[in-house]
């Protein structure tokens, strides 16, 4: 387990937890939660600056882009064109190629629109972006995205922000087994045990935002998620015992009085 790092697009990361930076009370709390989570990669959004009040605090003043890998994402984009535009701007703003592509299908489910996602991925890959891609839990889609050249596959475990936990362990496992690039569960985690389940399935990492930001105590939950991801990873390597239908005593029966 020592030196159990994973590699995304040529860079090694030792923390397998990626956290979002939205929904927090303020930047102060964001920074403390990220610190507690142990995450090395944080997702960020690209939005218009407030022309009227340019002196508003900025995220970069609280989370040093030299210390954390900023992963610009396209959350909130519903078309390939919007996602592509957003990530081109992100690359110019930050100067890095690693991005998270996410094209959503509808407001109600926030399910990925895979047709638009494939189209956007194709354009971005041609422009030399390193694309981590949010996708449905369909193993065929996952394979297609990998073949195209995406550097990480990120299926949902449950709808974004639902906190329902991993609803699709079979599909996630199928994707993990076939993939040669990192697979991260992106969306659906509600509490620490959910993150552990994802890691026990053999995922390379977990991405979450709401589970930490909307916990009663976000800093404490960030710490819990840090442990959960490590515990799940350790359990995956340890190899769980087989499940059985009936009891199996753990004390020897011989020598009973």
């Amino acid at each position: 387990m020592n030196n159990d790092s994973f590699n995304i697009a040529g860079t090694d990361f030792s923390s397998r937890l990626i956290v979002g930076t939205g929904k927090y009370k303020d930047f102060e709390e964001t920074a403390r939660a990220v610190e507690a989570s142990g995450a090395e990669i944080v997702t960020v959004a690209v939005r218009r600056v407030n022309i009227m009040d340019p002196n508003q605090p900025m995220l970069v003043d609280y989370l040093d882009p030299k210390k954390y890998t900023y992963l610009p994402n396209t959350a909130g984009c519903f078309t390939a064109d919007d996602a592509i535009r957003t990530l081109r701007l992100a690359r110019e703003a930050g100067g890095w190629n690693l991005v998270k592509l996410e094209v959503l299908g509808d407001q109600k489910t926030l399910y990925p629109n895979m047709v638009e996602t494939l189209h956007a991925a194709e354009v971005l890959l041609k422009e030399d972006f390193d694309v981590m891609v949010y996708c449905s839990d369909d193993p065929i889609m996952a394979q297609k995205l990998e073949e195209m050249g995406c550097c990480a596959i990120m299926p949902l475990g449950a709808p974004i922000g639902s906190g329902l936990g991993i609803q699709n362990p079979v599909q996630i496992r199928l994707i993990v087994e076939q993939a040669k690039v990192p697979v991260l569960v992106d969306a659906g985690v509600g509490t620490a045990s959910d993150a552990a389940v994802a890691m026990e399935l053999g995922c390379d990492g977990v991405l979450m935002n709401t589970a930490i930001a909307e916990a009663k105590d976000p800093i404490a939950m960030a710490t819990a998620m840090n442990f959960a991801v490590q515990a799940g990873r350790a359990a995956y390597f340890a190899g769980r015992m087989p499940k059985k239908l009936y009891a199996d005593p753990s004390s020897p029966l011989g020598g009973l009085i």
């Binding site: 956290v19 979002g20 930076t21 939205g22 929904k23 927090y24 930047f27 964001t30 997702t43 960020v44 959004a45 690209v46 939005r47 218009r48 600056v49 022309i51 340019p54 002196n55 900025m58 995220l59 970069v60 900023y70 610009p72 994402n73 959350a75 909130g76 535009r85 081109r88 701007l89 992100a90 690359r91 110019e92 703003a93 930050g94 996410e102 959503l104 926030l110 974004i160 922000g161 969306a187 979450m208 935002n209 709401t210 930001a213």
Partner: protein
């Protein structure tokens, strides 16, 4: 003065003003933002050279906290 659209709203700037001057005027740090002009990304290195024209559409963006959807 010429009329441009800045982040979706009408805005007036001096004729021939450079993008760099506009950012300075808006008190925005060029290092922390990215600019799209008429749907084309403007490389940071060219902010000084870009002279704004009538009806230009500018988008000036930066990174904010974000995870999944906001």
């Amino acid at each position: 003065m010429i009329n441009i659209t800045l982040n979706g709203d009408p805005h007036k700037v001096e004729n021939g003003q450079s993008l760099f001057d506009l950012l300075q005027h808006l008190k925005l740090d060029p290092k922390k933002v990215a600019v799209e002009r008429n749907l084309e990304i403007v490389p940071k290195s060219t902010y000084q050279d870009i002279k704004l024209k009538e009806a230009d559409k500018l988008e000036i963006v930066h990174f904010i906290g974000g995870g999944k959807t906001l």
